[in-house]
Symmetry: C2
Subunit: 257 residues, 2 copies
C-alpha cells in the first residue's frame, strides 16, 4: 500500500500559520511523524495561503531538510507545479490533474520531464460524473494522454473520487464499482488512489467510517491512499487488508506492538 500523508496542508491551522510566518518547525515535525508512520509520499498543500510557486517550493524544501520521503505536490495550478517540482530531490507525485483537455495538456508534459507520477481525477469540463461508466471513460482518457506524453501507465494513480457519505450516500458503492474497473484499463496497471477522509466529511464516527470504507476499497483493488497516517487503527486495517489481498506474506506478528 502506498500511503500519502495528508497533514502538511494549510487547511490545518498550525500549517497555515507556519507557512504565513515562514516557520519551518511545524512542517518538519509533521514530516518526521508521517515518515516514521511509514508514509511513502508526504503531501504538501499550499492552499489559498499564497499563489506563489516559491512558497510551495519553500514548503517542500523544509520537508526535505528533515526526511527523505518523496513529495506529493498538491496543487491544481500549472504555475505552482512548474516551480515547485524543481525543488523536489526525488521524483514526486503530482496531486492532481483532471481529464479536462487544457489541464492534461499542461500537467502531463511536466510530469514526463521529471519522471514523476500523477494522480488523475475522472472529471471533465462538465464536472464529476455520477456513474462508474463515465468515470472509467475519463480514466481511459487520462491514461491515453499519459501514453502520448511518455508517462508510463503505472506512474498514473487513478482516483475513483470518493464523495461524502452523509450527502451523497449512493456514491460510495459507485466508487467501489469504478475502482474495480481501473486495473483493466492499461498494462502495466495504473495505481488506484483516493482521498479517504472525504467519505466521512461532517459525520460522527469519522474514523470508523474511514477504516471500514478503506477495507472495502482495498478489496476493490485500491493500492494507494491519501490519509491520516497517524491513525493507528487505520494502519492496522491497511496491514490486515494487504494480507487478505495476498500482497504481504502472513505472519502472526504482523501487527507491531
Amino acid at each position: 500500500m502506498i500511503i500519502i500523508g495528508e497533514r502538511i496542508n494549510t487547511g490545518f491551522k498550525d500549517i497555515k500559520e507556519a507557512v504565513m510566518a515562514h516557520d519551518p518547525k511545524p512542517l518538519q515535525e509533521w514530516a518526521r511523524k508521517q515518515a516514521a508512520a511509514g508514509c511513502d509520499y508526504i503531501d504538501v498543500n499550499l492552499g489559498a495561503v499564497s499563489s506563489k510557486g516559491s512558497d510551495m517550493a519553500w514548503m517542500i524544501e523544509q520537508v526535505q531538510a528533515v526526511v527523505d520521503t518523496p513529495i506529493s505536490i498538491d496543487t491544481n495550478k500549472e504555475a505552482i507545479l512548474a516551480e515547485a517540482i524543481k525543488a523536489c530531490k526525488k521524483p514526486p507525485l503530482v496531486n492532481s490533474t483532471t481529464a479536462a483537455q487544457a489541464k492534461m495538456d499542461a500537467f502531463f508534459p511536466i510530469v514526463a520531464d521529471y519522471h514523476a507520477s500523477i494522480i488523475g481525477l475522472p472529471i471533465d469540463e462538465a464536472g464529476t460524473p455520477k456513474n462508474a461508466e463515465k468515470r472509467v471513460e475519463l480514466a481511459a482518457l487520462l491514461l491515453a494522454k499519459a501514453m502520448e506524453c511518455g508517462v508510463p501507465t503505472d506512474h498514473v494513480f487513478l482516483d475513483p473520487i470518493v464523495m461524502p457519505l452523509k450527502f451523497l450516500q449512493d456514491q460510495a458503492k459507485v466508487v467501489l464499482e469504478t475502482a474495480r474497473q481501473y486495473p483493466l484499463l492499461a498494462d502495466p496497471a495504473p495505481h488506484i488512489v483516493c482521498g479517504l477522509s472525504n467519505i466521512s466529511n461532517k459525520t460522527l464516527h469519522k474514523k470508523l467510517i474511514d477504516r471500514t470504507y478503506l477495507a472495502m476499497l482495498i478489496g476493490a483493488g485500491l493500492d494507494a491512499v491519501i490519509a491520516d497516517a497517524m491513525d493507528v487503527e487505520l494502519r492496522q486495517t491497511i496491514l490486515t487488508a494487504e494480507l487478505l489481498m495476498n500482497r504481504q506474506i502472513y505472519a502472526d506478528s504482523y501487527i507491531p506492538a
Copy 2:
C-alpha cells in the same frame, strides 16, 4: 445484513456439556444474548455429540422456548434435518448442502416442503474448487436444483467458502471474486453468506482480521454472515458497511451508544 449467531454449537464446551446433560439453561442464555444482539437466525449445531435428530430437535425447542428468532439448522445429515425441521416454529435456514448430487437430492425437497431457506456450498464430489470460476459453476448448479424443486432463488444463501488466511492466503481474494459473481446468477438474486471466523483460524488478531475481511466481503456483495454476534466492533463494522453500500439511510446517530 442477515446475521446468523454461531454460538449454540457443541464445539463450545458449555454447549456440549449442556446438550449431554439435557440442561437447557446455557442454550437459552446464548439464545437470549444473540437475539438481543440482533441476530436474524440462531444457528443450532449438535456436532458429534449425538447422531439423533431428536437431540437436535430438543436443542431447537429449548431455544424457541425463550426467543422468537428463526433457527438455522446446522447439519449435513439428511436424517437429522428431516427430524429437526419438524420442531421449527418458523421457516428455518438449513445450514447446509453442497452441490454434490446426492446431497442436493436429499436436502432441497425438504427445504421446499417447509418453505425454508438453505445455505449452498460450491463443493462437489471432487471437493472445494480453488478458483472462482468453478465455484460459480457449482453455485449455478445449486440454483438450478432450487428452481427444479420450487425453492425461490432468494431462499438460497450461496457461500463462497472462506478459507483460513494463515494456511491458504491466496484464497481470500478468490473468495471476494466469487462473491461478486453470485448476484448475477439468478433473479431474484440469491443471498451471499459466509462463515466469517474461518478466515482468522489459528491467527493472532482474530477480531481485527474478521472485521476487516467482513468489510471487504460486504463491499463484494455479501448480505448475510455466520458470526459472533456479541463482537461489538464487528457489529459496528456491519452497520457502517451497510451505510456505505446504501442499504440503510445514513444518520449521525447510527451507532447506538
